[in-house]
């Protein structure tokens, strides 16, 4: 195959674009897709301070790398989840990237900073590990961004992630979740703005980006995610994509174009019931927020400070 742009030998094929790229043109394609997503969805301005949610995996490292290349003032936040055999190498990848790019990495460790890990939190709160992990990450990212004076939190959710979440929400017709499945969640009322600049890139593209850029990332999957529902949705979508390239993008982009307006009012209604959690001050609709409940049930302390320097 030849590169669609320059006709040199290609190293990556992207079937949904019916295109192949050489290394240089592919890296340019990824950056252009991020710039397009940021502009199209008005995610952030060029002078805003960005906190990138970094896991040490392909998506978050590719995102951080691209944002730095574009010129954003982007710091990383890595959360140690206390998962044996996984958290340590993940953290090493995040630290190695930060050192190589001379970027600032903030670190929070659930066991030492809050007194619990994902496994004990999940068991104590009777959740699946992925749910306890997601809840913990959302809380810590929100708090770190607000305490550190960041304008926006950027996460590495890619096209495949969003299409899989959309499929799950549609299968259950979960209108409330559909309402807030957007590339930008506005800030305010105790929440930082959250953006997903990788929504125009599939995860095969973010992985290829890391390989071609020489970014060493955590390839082995989290042992706790094996067999989860989200991965099942991805498997189903990939089976369809194999026969009909472009289906995932059409599914997700069609939702953004025609479906997501349905939820705007719902999103607003949902925020009307919010008040600060009496324990940690995070916004919640319950008497005590879900994060504080989980940490207290797991024997930890949800009020511990996150080591972020406020600017």
């Amino acid at each position: 195959m030849k590169c669609k742009v320059c006709r040199r030998p290609a190293v990556v094929d992207v079937r949904r674009h019916n295109a192949a790229f050489c290394s240089d043109c592919f890296l340019g394609h990824c950056r252009a897709q991020v710039e397009r997503a940021v502009k199209e969805h008005r995610m952030m301005g060029p002078d805003e301070r960005v906190l990138v949610a970094v896991s040490g995996g392909k998506d978050s490292l590719a995102l951080w790398d691209i944002l730095l290349d574009i010129g954003y003032q982007a710091d990383g936040l890595y959360i140690g989840l206390g998962i044996a055999g996984y958290s340590q190498p993940s953290g090493e990848h995040a630290r190695a990237f930060a050192a190589a790019r001379q970027a600032h990495l903030v670190e929070v460790d659930l066991p030492s900073d809050f007194g619990y890990d994902v496994k004990t939190g999940a068991a104590a709160d009777r959740r699946v590990p992925c749910s306890a992990c997601g809840l913990s990450k959302r809380h810590v990212f929100d708090r770190a961004a607000l305490d550190g004076g960041y304008d926006v939190v950027a996460t590495g959710h890619n096209l495949d992630d969003e299409a899989a979440v959309l499929l799950g929400n549609v299968l259950r017709w979960d209108v409330a979740y559909l309402a807030r499945q957007r590339p930008v969640l506005p800030g305010g009322e105790g929440f930082p703005r959250k953006v997903k600049p990788l929504v125009k890139l599939g995860e095969r593209e973010t992985a290829a980006y890391c390989v071609l850029k020489g970014l060493d990332y955590q390839v082995e999957e989290c042992p706790m995610s094996a067999g989860n529902r989200h991965l099942g949705y991805k498997e189903a979508l990939n089976a369809i994509e194999e026969r009909s390239p472009g289906t995932k993008a059409a599914f997700y982009n069609g939702f953004l174009d025609r479906g997501s307006a349905l939820g705007a009012e719902l999103c607003q209604d949902e925020r009307e019931g919010l008040h600060p959690c009496p324990s940690c001050a995070a916004p919640t609709t319950a008497a005590v927020c879900a994060f504080c409940k989980l940490v207290e049930r797991a024997g930890g302390d949800p009020r511990r400070r996150i080591p972020v320097t406020a600017l």
Binding site: K58, S131, L135, D161, E203, V219, E220, N228, E235
Partner: protein, 78 residues
């Protein structure tokens, strides 16, 4: 010749297949969907139409990841 050495991930393991063969033929033989992996031959990313020479080292790297990407729980809108 020595065949094609193939490195698989999740979990990490190695196997050998007779070469030469095409990338798509290798993926089909091992039951992989093209959309879900990258194929790296002797350290270089290759496209689906590439042929893998006998004696090459191949990594089939899965790209599908995800766990905590679902929606927010009750009581915490995000």
């Amino acid at each position: 010749m020595g065949g094609v050495k193939v490195l698989l991930r999740n979990p990490k393991r190695e196997l050998e297949v007779p070469g030469p063969l095409g990338v798509l033929a290798l993926l089909e033989q091992l039951g992989y969907i093209r959309e879900a992996v990258l194929v790296i031959v002797d350290g270089t990313l290759v496209t689906g139409d590439a042929t893998i020479a006998d004696g090459s080292g191949v990594e089939i790297r899965p790209v599908v990841s995800g766990g905590a990407t679902g929606p927010a729980p009750t009581g915490s809108p995000r």
